[in-house]
Symmetry: C2
Subunit: 206 residues, 2 copies
Amino acid sequence: VRRFVVIGQTATASGDFSLEDLPSTSGRLDVLLRCVRAALLVSHGLRRDTVVYLVLLGGPLAPRTVRVDGAIATYVRPDERSLAGLVRKVLATPRAGRDAGGPAFTPMPHGFAIAEGGLELVLPDLGSFTPYLLDENAPDIRAAPLALEDPVFFLGDHVGLDDATRARLASAGAVSLSVGPVSVHAYDVVAIVANELDRRAPTVAL
Amino acid sequence: VRRFVVIGQTATASGDFSLEDLPSTSGRLDVLLRCVRAALLVSHGLRRDTVVYLVLLGGPLAPRTVRVDGAIATYVRPDERSLAGLVRKVLATPRAGRDAGGPAFTPMPHGFAIAEGGLELVLPDLGSFTPYLLDENAPDIRAAPLALEDPVFFLGDHVGLDDATRARLASAGAVSLSVGPVSVHAYDVVAIVANELDRRAPTVAL
């Protein structure tokens, strides 16, 4: 299984944004939605072996994390507005308490799930994994060995990653990799990484 | 200069689509808008050495072609709705006649231009160029020599390319290339090709 964890420093964790002005009203949640699209959708279907986590650190309900599991996802379409509508419904759920020891992620319709926290809930949810941090000026992913069984790619949004997140990922053993000499947007990074993985072990698309 | 020519079999050539339901009302112009984004926008600016042509073959005003020149483009933002608004204004221009021998493309604000025709007007506008056709099951772009001075990449939308277009590109000497073993959406193809070009000769971004 391939997994992507996108950390949105400003992306809103509440569902009160406007579909008519997504970038301004959602703290640039649109950036993260494009990452979901790039990770999950291919020409004739959906990558069933890919999971995306959106860590939402903006707005009054933050931190929250939305998980989209390609294995069971439905109604995921490439246009931003439709994807924003799906995620808005998930985020419209009131912030919930959690039983100690219970699962962090609450299942929602269409293969989505939500957790009331950030990276500290994502890491245990990943189980066994090999972490990579997608970053500028890091060694080239093309030349790097990749764990194809359980790679997890962490990346920031348009703002980048804060020092605390970097420290946490470093202590989890994350290997830094770049996708080339030009710094591109997070969703293009996801598309390029997915392509690199496809060349090493083609994805399951259905 | 890098150039991308995206051929939209159903994408509308008229500006009467709805921003609230772009995929259904625009003949999937949204696919082509995402290609513009992927070709032009990078993390800290815009690729000044890239030009995108959208050949619009859908709707009552077709064929028309919209050209976006990165060298002079302004107000190009990554969210679909804002990009759709820019293109809608260009397409709202009434279909115009053209002086015989005059330029095919009429300049519009923000680095856009419009021509009242399709591929037959794009090819002369390209001047000197080396054509590539991005296609499934073709040789891998990574292993191919690329003309870095004046490459032009032709690609289809979600429908693919019709036989007449393929024949025309073949007679122009287009070399078919693929971006890997999994068939991905047109805009992800553009992002992957731009990344391949960046690795061979980094883009000019400002």
